[in-house]
Structure formats: C-alpha cells, structure tokens
C-alpha cells in the first residue's frame, strides 16, 4: 500500500529547511505551490551542520530552528550536494523485483565506492527505460549521518518526511521555469563555498553529474577554473556530447562567483538562477541561496 502511495507526488508541508554550508536557511510559506508567500525566512550561520545535528547538541539546534518556524510537525529537508553521492547509472537487464534491483545497483557501486555499501542509504529514480536497459539517477548518503539528522528533528517533535539534494531541486526549478533547453546539452552549476556541482543535461534529462568538494579557502580561483575546464572537457570528449547550449548558474552565497570567462565559449549563454525569481507579486527576490527551497515548495 505504501509503495503504491509513493507513486503519487506527496503532499508536502509548507515548511522546509536547507542545510548547506555556510548557512542554514529555513522557510515557511503560506501554501506550497506557485506564487509562494513567505511567512518566515530565517537564516543563520553554520560551521559544520552535519556534525552539529548528529551530535548531542543537534536536538537543541533543531528545537531552536523549529521554534522560529512556528513548531511545525512536518518539515522537508534539503541538504547540500556534498552530503550525498549522486550519479547516473545505466543498467542492462533491469529486473522487475525491487530487491533484485537494489542488489544489482549495490553490486555495481561496490566496484566504484571505497566505503561499505551496506552503510549507505540508497534511493534511485528511473530516468529512462528501454527494452534492453534502464538509466537511473542514484542518490546515496551515509545511513548513520542522515538517521542522526532525522533523529534530531524527531526528538524536537517534528517529522522529516522529505530529504532531497540541492542540485536535484535546482534541476527541478530549471525544468519548471523552462530554463533548460528542450534539445541539446546544458549545464547546471551549483557553486557553494564547500562544493561545486556539475549537472549536465541533454534535452532536459540529466546525463552526467559531478560534485567536487571545495573546502573553504582551499581552492583558489585558478583551481576552480581548472576543475571547470577538466569537467567540461570530459563531458565533451569522453562522453561525446556537443557544444553546450546554455549554462545555468547558482551561487550560494550570492557574492560567490565562478571564473567562467575564458573557460566556456563566448556565445554560450550563462544565466544566473534566482536573479529574477520573486514568488508572490511585490515580494523581494529570493536570490540563489533560497532557490532549492523555492523549487521544492513550488513543485511542478
């Protein structure tokens, strides 16, 4: 019964929290959907969110956050990409039974991951399925770490029923806003002080994802530029995709910049997400930092 109900799009609560270095962003809206009307926008600095939430002080931190949000009973949680491992996997002979599917996916992951796969929480989504193969979007995270975060909120009397990744929400936002080209390759760049994510799409569908962790002040602008060049070259030459038709860029915080000049061709349009997204009429712009939460709340 539960598995059947998960086929439908869930009815999300109007409260969501984005835990993404260097800040925690919490949003409460009047009602999820188009033209969001924010009731509470709370932002506070964070040093190491996962450790804080997972430790004994996590309960207090979650409790204080929930108090600012009006003590909701249910919330959605969006975490930074570095908390997860996301990748696209193509499998032949995709089985029907769920158990067999998980076993095959884990068998493939064992070959590439250097951590025990039994300690991971795995979720997947079928991007494309043909008679002979299936292309999956995999998302993994450390079971203990996520369980500790969920426990912190549950001890504060709140149920976490949605946990998503920042770039996945940005992709949904770009899709819903019609920002991704319907044909040809495009790139969604998600830049925060702690990581740089690349989500390449082809006709709007993800084809390659990479998340490069960048500890604050560790990578200089030159190193970032090098990562950009390498990843773009991999996409073009190894994966065989053509010239990018569009680059979507999200900064968090908004002051963070990416050295794209000289890395991509000049005729490739670069659009910064969140610059013009305002939600309800007359409201102030959300800005790039809030976009994952806005994408989640707006839905389709």
């Amino acid at each position: 019964m539960i598995s059947l109900l998960t086929k439908f799009r869930p009815s999300l609560p109007p409260v969501a929290v984005l835990v993404e270095y260097p800040s925690i962003l919490a949003l409460r809206v009047a009602k999820p959907g188009r033209d969001l009307q924010a009731l509470v926008r709370h932002e506070e600095a964070m040093t190491d969110v996962v450790d804080a939430l997972g430790s004994s002080g996590g309960h207090k931190m979650a409790d204080a956050l929930l108090t600012r949000l009006g003590r909701p009973k249910r919330i959605c949680l969006v975490l930074g990409d570095s908390f997860f491992r996301m990748q696209i996997m193509t499998l032949t002979d995709f089985p029907r039974r769920e158990e067999e599917r998980s076993q095959i996916i884990l068998w493939h992951l064992r070959k590439t991951l250097n951590v025990p796969v039994e300690s991971l929480r795995l979720r997947y989504e079928i991007l494309q399925k043909t008679a002979g193969s299936a292309t999956l979007w995999l998302t993994l995270c450390q079971e203990d770490a996520l369980a500790a975060v969920e426990k912190s909120f549950s001890e504060a009397g709140c149920e976490v029923g949605y946990v998503g990744a920042s770039s996945a929400e940005l992709h949904n936002f770009a899709l819903a806003s019609g920002l991704l080209p319907e044909e040809g390759p495009a790139l969604l760049l998600n830049r925060t002080p702690s990581y740089l994510s690349f989500l390449f799409t082809e006709g709007g569908q993800p084809v390659f994802f990479r998340c490069k962790e960048t500890a604050p002040d560790e990578l200089g602008e030159g190193r970032i530029e090098q990562e950009l060049r390498l990843t773009l070259a991999y996409h073009r030459e190894k994966l065989g995709f053509g010239k990018l038709r569009k680059i979507l860029l999200r900064h968090h915080p908004d002051s963070l910049r990416l050295p794209l000049e000289g890395v991509v061709e000049e005729d490739v349009p670069v659009e910064t997400l969140g610059a013009s997204s305002t939600g309800a009429a007359g409201a102030q712009p959300w800005g790039g930092a809030w976009l994952p939460l806005v994408a989640l709340m707006e839905g389709d």
């Binding site: 019964m1 539960i2 109900l5 998960t6 439908f8 799009r9 869930p10 009815s11 999300l12 609560p13 249910r74 959605c76 949680l77 997860f84 929480r121 979720r123 997947y124 989504e125 991007l127 979007w137 998302t139 995270c141 996520l146 369980a147 969920e150 149920e159 976490v160 029923g161 949605y162 946990v163 998503g164 990744a165 996945a168 992709h171 949904n172 899709l175 819903a176 991704l180 319907e182 006709g203 709007g204 569908q205 993800p206 389709d300």
Partner: protein, 192 residues
Amino acid sequence: MKRLSVNLATAPFVNRVAPVVAISAILGAALLLTLFNLTSFVLLGTEYRTARNVLKEQGQRLDALKKDMAEKEKILQSGSVTSLSEEAKFVARLLETKRFSWTRFLADVENIKPYGVMFQAVTPSVTPEGAVALNLRGQANPRSEMLKLEQNLFSSALFREVQLSSEQRQPGNPLTDFSITCIYLPEASDAP
C-alpha cells in the same frame, strides 16, 4: 523532461489525498446505504408486521381446517356413514315415487280412455333417468276400442314411447285382454 523526485527520508511523505478520497467515498457510500436500509426498515416494517400477522392467522386457520378435515375423513371412513348413505338413496327413491300423483294421472287417463276400455291394473315405476314408466293392463270390447286407446296415447303429449306389449282374446268371448307400456310425463302440456 522528467523532474528528479528522489526522497531519502526514512519515512517519506506520501500523498494522502488519494487514499483519503477513496476511503471517504467508501465510507460515504456505506453511510448512504445504511441510511437507506434504516429508512426502508422503518417504512416497510409496519407492512411487514401486518403481513406477518395475516400469515400467522391464515396458518392457524389452515391448521384448524386440516384438523377438521382429518376428523371428517375419519367419520366418513366409519361404517355408520355407509349405512347412512344407503338410507339416503332409499329416501331419494321414495321421494321420486311420491312425486307420482294418482289424482292427476286418473284425470289424464279419463281424457284418453275410450268408452269400451276397462283398466284392470295400472302399475307406475320410476326409471333410473327419473321418468315414470306405466304398465296399463285392461280389457276392450270391441277390439277397436283398444286401438282407439292406443291412438289416443300416441296423440297425447303426456305419453311417450307407447307400445302394445300383448293382446289376447278368448274364443267365444268378445273381450280383448291387452297390456300397454308407455312413459308418462305429467309435467308436459297436453295442449295441441
């Protein structure tokens, strides 16, 4: 183009609208049917009780009739009823005999009897069909008087099936003995 909807929560939110709508529809239908049943029960209950009482009374009456019929059969199968039946038949025959009126018969015979005919015996009997059969025995002088009597009987509507049974004349005696049988219909009209 498909959105990414991977959810890593331990207990993911589910869409409660679909099951709530389904359960509400089922409960609503059950409630409506229950109300319909209750209304039907209340409205039809009186009629049901009346019909049940009628059936009960009819059943009791049927039982009484069956009991009475059994008793009657028992009486009919006893010997007294057989003798009673025979007696009833005898009385019926007697009554049929009693229907014969001699006064009227003699008045009718007077109309058809010629002067030279003398009746010695008139014997009536009732046939199984209920008609009165007559046997007329007498003497005629001369013989033509007997023929005249026969002719009168033929022409009268009160007599049918006239038949001369016997005719005898002794030598040296002018009297002719005869015997005539016929059916007498006292109710018939003698008008021409």
